[in-house]
């Protein structure tokens, strides 16, 4: 029973890691570079959620606030790619790495200036509510996080598999030049991917804020853990990113419970190291040899 309890808590945390990792992978596939501001986008999304939903701020219903926050962050991310990152299109990857690290700083300070540096938490209708099921005591927030992640994953799966834009996104990530030759406006599609990544980050941020307090530097640690999740999944695979996030969430919980104190901090990275040694491409590596 104890283990099951831990597992559910871990999965809930892992869902958030997974969603941020998903944001990483989306952008990595579109721009072929890692967006080191991903964790800060989560933080910004969380603050936007708080600004829309909390009683003393926007006072919107939870769902409406969630939608508003994700639309806002989606637009911000789209604009970031359209106006900032496209300016360095064609530069070496390192330029993008430095630029996204800088963007992270900017987001952190903007958030601090607007919302202050004190921890704030999101007021939700289900805050602190607990569901007793047999011998299990489950936080409603955890269950909702798991449900929301499942729903979002399903929507994304439909989007990438079934819609014209989704397939075009896959195509431009697999072969950018050929996508151009098909008439796909690759640059605009990339900006839309950034927007999508913003939407996913905002949802992850609001879910995160539903569980705990948010302050401007929260994205830093989160980004690193989610990065580890994406690496475990095999950077470039969407299901891999989610799985990597879940694994990290679960192992962290179990390490915190059973391992000596402090080990829960390094457990995710130990797992990443192990995966890199055993399967250097990650769990879901998409590597194809080009035929000549």
């Amino acid at each position: 029973m104890d283990a099951l309890q831990l597992l559910i808590g871990g999965v809930a945390n892992g869902c958030i890691y997974g969603l941020v990792a998903l944001g990483f992978v989306l952008i990595y596939k579109a721009s072929e570079a890692v967006n080191f501001a991903q964790g800060d986008m989560l933080m910004f999304g969380a603050f936007l959620g708080i600004a829309f939903i909390n009683e003393d701020r926007g006072d919107l219903p939870f769902l409406l606030g969630l939608v508003a926050a994700s639309l806002c962050l989606g637009l911000i991310a789209y604009a970031l790619d359209r106006f900032v990152l496209r300016a360095i299109f064609g530069q070496p990857q390192f330029a993008m790495v430095v630029l996204t690290i800088a963007l992270g700083f900017v987001l952190r300070f903007v958030a601090g200036t607007i919302w202050g540096y004190d921890p704030v938490s999101l007021e939700t209708p289900f805050a602190g509510e607990i569901l007793s099921l047999g011998g299990l005591t489950l936080a409603v927030a955890d269950l909702l996080i798991i449900l929301a992640t499942c729903g979002l994953t399903f929507v994304l799966w439909l989007f990438f598999g079934r819609t014209r834009l989704g397939v075009a996104m896959q195509a431009s990530s697999q072969n950018q030049m050929a996508a151009y030759y098909m008439g796909i406006p690759v640059k605009r599609v990339n900006s839309i991917v950034w927007g999508l990544s913003g939407v996913v980050s905002a949802i992850a941020g609001v879910l995160f804020a539903a569980k705990g307090a948010v302050e401007p530097s929260v994205g830093l640690l989160f980004g690193i853990k989610a990065f580890a999740a994406a690496v475990i999944g095999g950077f470039g695979s969407l299901p891999g990113a989610l799985l990597g996030g879940l694994l990290i969430g679960v192992i962290e919980q179990f390490a915190a419970r059973y391992a000596p104190s402090g080990y829960s901090q390094i457990a995710p990275y130990a797992l990443m190291l192990l995966v890199l040694i055993l399967r250097p491409g990650g769990l879901f590596a998409q590597i194809a040899q080009k035929k000549v």
Partner: protein
């Protein structure tokens, strides 16, 4: 200059294209008449692919003009060129490896919104029956020849007014090359697709095409009907490998020069 004759789908005039500091095209002019197959021959590094990329908008020319269907198009983005009716089948196939064969074909019709896409996919399957068998398979797992067929079919799906074929024979067995060029010929005759064909395999290219250009280090050095080129001594010697039979031994080969130098 630049008087547009209605028969020409594409006219390229004095185009100069650079790769960084390297001048890859040194003033190239070609015409592609409607309904014909025009081929561009040349060795490695002659600038054939550069010319294709310039024409399809992937590279911008430094000087010169490209007109397509009577309008100037140099400096346009590749996706706009597709919307204007130009399909580029790139060198080395460049299929989308993790998408299925059918998804690849559908992406070929990305710019179209009509209801006949399904019928056109069936048409592709008629020309390339093997693709129908493999329709659900990931394109990256196809053989080289099948990928080339998919790339051509994908280009066809845009219902292009001009199709650029960049080295369709690359890395294929002689038998497969025959088959692919047979289909290229058929597409031209039955569907009326105008084609600009780049090839290293001069023999098959000249046998397929109506008109040919020879490109050497960024310049057009010969231009004529394909049959004339096929019979020309220079082409025989430098692109078709001999043709002098036993006499070759008697001849002082090292003395023979290309007439265009």
């Amino acid at each position: 200059m630049n008087v547009q004759t209605p028969e020409n789908v594409m006219e390229v005039r004095n185009v100069e294209t650079f790769y960084g500091p390297i001048m890859a095209l040194r003033g190239v002019s070609i015409d592609v008449p409607k309904g014909k197959i025009v081929t561009i021959l040349g060795a490695n590094g002659a600038g054939k692919t550069t010319l294709m990329k310039t024409v399809s908008g992937a590279l911008d020319p430094e000087k010169g003009t490209v007109s397509f269907l009577g309008e100037r198009v140099d400096g346009q983005e590749p996706d706009q060129m597709v919307r204007r009716g130009l399909a580029h089948v790139p060198e080395g196939r460049e299929v989308f490896p993790f998408l299925s064969v059918e998804e690849n074909l559908k992406l070929g019709a990305y710019t179209r919104r009509d209801r006949e896409i399904g019928a056109d996919i069936e048409m592709c399957y008629q020309y390339f029956p093997i693709l129908k068998e493999r329709r659900a398979q990931q394109a990256g797992t196809l053989s080289g020849g099948q990928q080339q067929m998919l790339a051509i079919g994908r280009g066809l799906m845009a219902r292009p007014k001009l199709m650029l074929l960049d080295e369709p024979s690359l890395g294929l067995s002689p038998l497969l090359v025959q088959e692919i060029f047979g289909i290229i010929r058929r597409l031209n005759e039955e569907q009326g697709v105008t084609m600009l064909l780049v090839e290293q395999n001069a023999q098959i290219a000249l046998n397929t095409a109506d008109y040919g250009y020879v490109l050497e280090i960024g310049r057009i050095v010969m231009a004529n009907d394909a049959s004339v080129l096929l019979a020309s001594e220079d082409i025989q010697e430098f692109y078709l490998g001999g043709g002098h039979g036993t006499k070759q031994r008697d001849q002082k080969r090292w003395k023979r020069k290309k007439t265009w130098r």
